[in-house]
Every structure is written in C-alpha cells, then in structure tokens.
Symmetry: C2
Subunit: 204 residues, 2 copies
C-alpha cells in the first residue's frame, strides 16, 4: 500500500493536487451535493471544496456542471452522446431507436443499481428537485435540441411521460408482464408511441 500524501501539506493554498483517487473523491462529493442540495444549488466550487481540491481540477477532470452530473450517475453511457446517436439518422424511426438505447442502458447490470437509486430517491423525496432539474437540464436539453423548433418542448415532455412510466413500471415496480418482456418486444410495442410523440402533429 502506498501512503497518500495529504493535500494540506503539499498543495498550494492548502488544496490537494490530483492524486490517485482524487477523481473518486470529487465524484463522491458531487453525488452528495446533488442529492442533498439538488442540481441548481450545487456549484463546482462547493464540490471542489468538499473534496479538498481546486475548482480548476474539477473542471479539468469533468468539464461543466452538466458533465459532472452525468459522471456522478456512474453509468456506462453519456446520455447526451447516446441521444445524439439516436437522432443522427433523422426523426424517422427515432422512437424505436431511442427506446432501444434507453432499455439497453437500463438492462446493463452495472447501470441498473445506480439508475434505480437515482430514480427512487428523486421520486420519493418531496424536497428533491434533482430529477426535475437534472432531467430537464441534461436530458431534455439534448432531446429538445434534436427536435424541430416550435413543438420541441411539448414533444420532449410527451416522450418523458411514456419513458418515465415505462422505467417505473418495468424496473422500479416490476409490473408484470412488462418487467419480463424481452427488450425487442417492448420496443415493438412502445416505440411507436414515442415515434408519434416525436413526429406526429401535436398542435391542439
């Protein structure tokens, strides 16, 4: 075992330089702050302070606050990149591709636990605005950016109603037979709904 030098002795202004588990400590501080204070009230500066490092180091490792939030989810995919891939070939068939992508991320055992914990804590705590803020900020922004102007907000909102409910029913509540359906069948059954929300007329 290597003794890790403490930052107070070495770093400028009493902050630690990047060490072997600095990245992990920043992530832990970020997760705590997002969970306790929500997305909006979390600052890179405060996360850096809690982790005992400079804010510049947080930016260096993780980029923006959006990036830090995505990293703090501990999933194998950046949802913004995944969304960009889903929509790259155009709106046609995007409903099925979107659903297939989301399910493949959730069906990955290493992603399931952190995603379920995130969903559960966001839905269960009346004080938590994390899912609202983060969801709207990170996922919605990406999704809206892929949609034609005008109805993008409404379309993203409609997609959210079906997607959230599917995730809650399939993974959180395990409502049968939805929980046990093969992914391809879920895509065949529910993909057309997402496609309708993405591309059918929505004007009242």
């Amino acid at each position: 075992m290597t003794a890790r030098p403490t930052g107070r002795q070495q770093g400028p202004r009493g902050r630690r330089p990047g060490g072997p588990d600095t990245r992990g400590q920043i992530l832990e501080a970020a997760r705590e702050s997002f969970a306790d204070k929500g997305f909006r009230a979390t600052t890179i500066r405060a996360v850096a302070g809690a982790a005992g490092v400079d804010a510049a180091l947080v930016h260096h490792y993780f980029g923006t606050k959006d990036d830090l939030f995505v990293a703090s989810l501990e999933i194998s995919v950046d949802p913004r990149q995944a969304l960009a891939l889903v929509f790259a070939p155009g709106l046609d068939g995007a409903g099925e591709r979107l659903l297939g992508t989301v399910l493949s991320v959730w069906d990955e055992p290493e992603n399931r636990r952190p995603l379920l914990a995130f969903l559960r804590s966001s839905l269960g705590d009346p004080e938590s605005t994390l899912l609202q803020d983060a969801f709207i900020r990170v996922i919605f922004k990406s999704l809206r950016g892929q949609l034609p102007d005008g109805d993008a907000e409404l379309r993203a909102g409609l997609v959210a109603t079906q997607m959230l409910g599917l995730l809650v029913a399939r993974y959180l509540l395990a409502v049968e037979p939805v929980a046990s359906l093969p992914r391809e069948q879920v895509v065949a059954l529910i993909g057309p709904t997402l496609q309708r929300y993405l591309s059918d007329p929505v004007a009242p």
Copy 2:
C-alpha cells in the same frame, strides 16, 4: 364536548363498539398498516386490533380488504367504479375516457395531496410493495376484467406504463409543459396511446 366512553370498559371482549370516530380510527390504522407492512401482509384482523375494535366492525364499515384499501386512499372516487363507468360503453374511445377520468380525479384539489403522498411513498421506498400489490390487486384487476381475454395482462401493463409516467411527469415532477396543459389537451395527445394499448394488436 361529549366524553367518549373507552372500549375497554364497555365493549365485549374489551373491544370498543362503533363510536363517532371509530371509522376514522380504523382508517388510520389501515393506512399505517398498508404503509408499514404493505398490502399483502395487512389483515383486517390486525387493523381491527390496532384500532381497538372487532374485525366484524371493520368488515361492516368497509367490506373487503380491497375496499378498505380504496377507502384508505381518501379520494373522492372508488377507482373500480370509475373504471367500470369508463368501459361501460365498450372499448371504443375507452382510452380517452380512461385518461379523462384519471385526470379529473387527480385535478381535484382534495385528492391531489393523498394521491401524491401515496405515489411518492410507494416509489421512494425500496421496501414498499404497496403500489405493486395494491395497484395490481385493485386497479389492475378491475382493468383486466374490462379487457378481452388473452392479452388483458399485457394491455393493462402497457396502459400502466403510460399512465404512471404521465402522473409522475405532470403531478409529481411537474415537468413543463405537461404539468400546465389543460386536461382536454392531455386527453387529446395521450388518449390515443392508451386506446392503442387497449385495442390495437399487441401480439409479437
């Protein structure tokens, strides 16, 4: 103020006979038991014991355990009767009618608080099986009973994915613009999805 005689002194076997707030005490005991132990582990006998009354009195006031659960929700409508009304004219248009009915119950201010509390606690607590059990037992059973044999389970499950997600997005997370849409517009946008799940082919 009238002094309420205590049951231990008056009732047979030390149980209180029905008094002015006996109904309320039973409901409180029921809510506590459903929340703590879930639907399956809750018994009429145990609820009666906690309320200090005879089990027969609980049956007299509330009927079956299903009925007691519905009463414990403290909403203005019995979802089973509402479902029967929705499906009485047949499957045609049932998606829109179902959605309109559910939204009208949720949009009622007196229902909103207990329904939100129920949804939030059921989704937030990993130990809670209340939404699964009760939902499947009470709502699903009614819904399945209205659907043609064969695919009823799957159709009810698909309806659940869209309905749950809409309730979570509109009422729990207040995702805009879905949260502020007039009820009629939500019905026009999402009703067809429910109709498709109720009556379009679902076989793989």
